[in-house]
Symmetry: C2
Subunit: 242 residues, 2 copies
Amino acid sequence: MTPQPAESVQKRYYQHSNKHLVAVDCIIFGFQNDVLKILLLKRKVAPLKGQWSLIGSFVNTGEHLDNAAKRILKESTGLQNVFMEQLHCFGKSDRDPGDRVISIAYTALMRLEESDESKVEAFGAKWVELKKKPDLVIDHNEMMALALKQLQRKARLYPIGFELLPKKFTLPQLLKLYQAIYQQKIDDRNFRKKILSFGILKKLEEKDKSESKKGAFYYSFDKKKYEKMIKNEGRFFLTLVK
Amino acid sequence: MTPQPAESVQKRYYQHSNKHLVAVDCIIFGFQNDVLKILLLKRKVAPLKGQWSLIGSFVNTGEHLDNAAKRILKESTGLQNVFMEQLHCFGKSDRDPGDRVISIAYTALMRLEESDESKVEAFGAKWVELKKKPDLVIDHNEMMALALKQLQRKARLYPIGFELLPKKFTLPQLLKLYQAIYQQKIDDRNFRKKILSFGILKKLEEKDKSESKKGAFYYSFDKKKYEKMIKNEGRFFLTLVK
DNA sequence: TCAAAAGTGTTCAAGTTACACCCATGT
DNA sequence: ACATGGGTGTAACTTGAACACTTTTGA
């Protein structure tokens, strides 16, 4: 019933234990034009075929979980080199009406460019504004909610802009990112002061004139200082949000 | 090869997907006599039989993951009514030399009384001082390290004493708990000030005279205020530790 | 010249840190 | 009377919160 090809020279113990279907679901956040988006897909298999869902599929025999996540994301959307982190394992016995499936949720943050929109659409996937999220199958709404909560917590402790913004970005953009994550207004003077005080931003000569006549200076992250800060956890602490 | 008893009226989809062994491992912290302890067991099955290990076993068909954790803890140690939380899913394909096993780690905090020591020993389990932790099998050292890190993070954001201390406790005890978790000295004057400022402790009439001649007042948590504080995440923030 | 977004400083309140001595009591 | 652990207060400093106006420039 369950094919078990000889995958290695590993000996087999535990022969009498039960086996389970194990899946991975990916929650991918992207930031573009001042809005937070998430990557969704219309489900291609029964049951619940055609309904909105996260990117997900089954883990293969002998496949490292992290690699399964990468493979599944690539197969479903074409996206590669996305750094995913494990979020949580969803293990209720009746969560999936198709069968008993244990699912491990992964999250990632991406900087989104125009071209990314059409690329994933070729796979039937779509970047949807967080605020316009449709209802999702199974417990995917719950997964999304947890992922957003984790993103908010993370944004308070780490300067996450690195992952969601292009290499060059302006302070108004960074502020909008934080406001999008917290769905809340943040005082711009205090925000600038705080963010700059961490000393991880480099001001560039160039200005972005696409948003205003005056133009806003571009900044970039100082990768070395950024990584040093990440190491001593908790040095970064954004108090401007509740 | 893998028995699949009809567990419900659920239809079966996904018939061609691979199945996996799924286990749960439990990291249980206990606090007693001013030291942090963890619950360990000498492994009873091959491979690695007889070596130190966390409490763990396999998830059954159709079993809710959280329930599996409870069952496994009870079967292996007799402990019941322990509130466990999921920590992380460990999914490297070669982590267990016995076979490919995906393991979900759970953690819990317990107040430890003298009687608990002998109870678990009847099952062959043992409360071991954190500082004297032996080398553990497979990736259980890694699980432990992650659990401790999470405990430290949690202790900074929540008044966790509730779970690790007896109902009545003294401030010196609470201080020692925090020092044990962070393996670091904390200024007692500042600690008292900060902890009391949260307004979740009730001072009792009674004193504990077992530790000193003067005696230290007992306190208890005010459960209502405690739960209110938990709700607005981040109200509690212990800045005294690095 | 004006509209639209970028950029800038100060004051007040709150919280954090560092630090040393007296208290109560059992033996 | 003394040894042991319990308990307390303050001053200097750092950080956070609230808040309004000037600058630049393309149209």
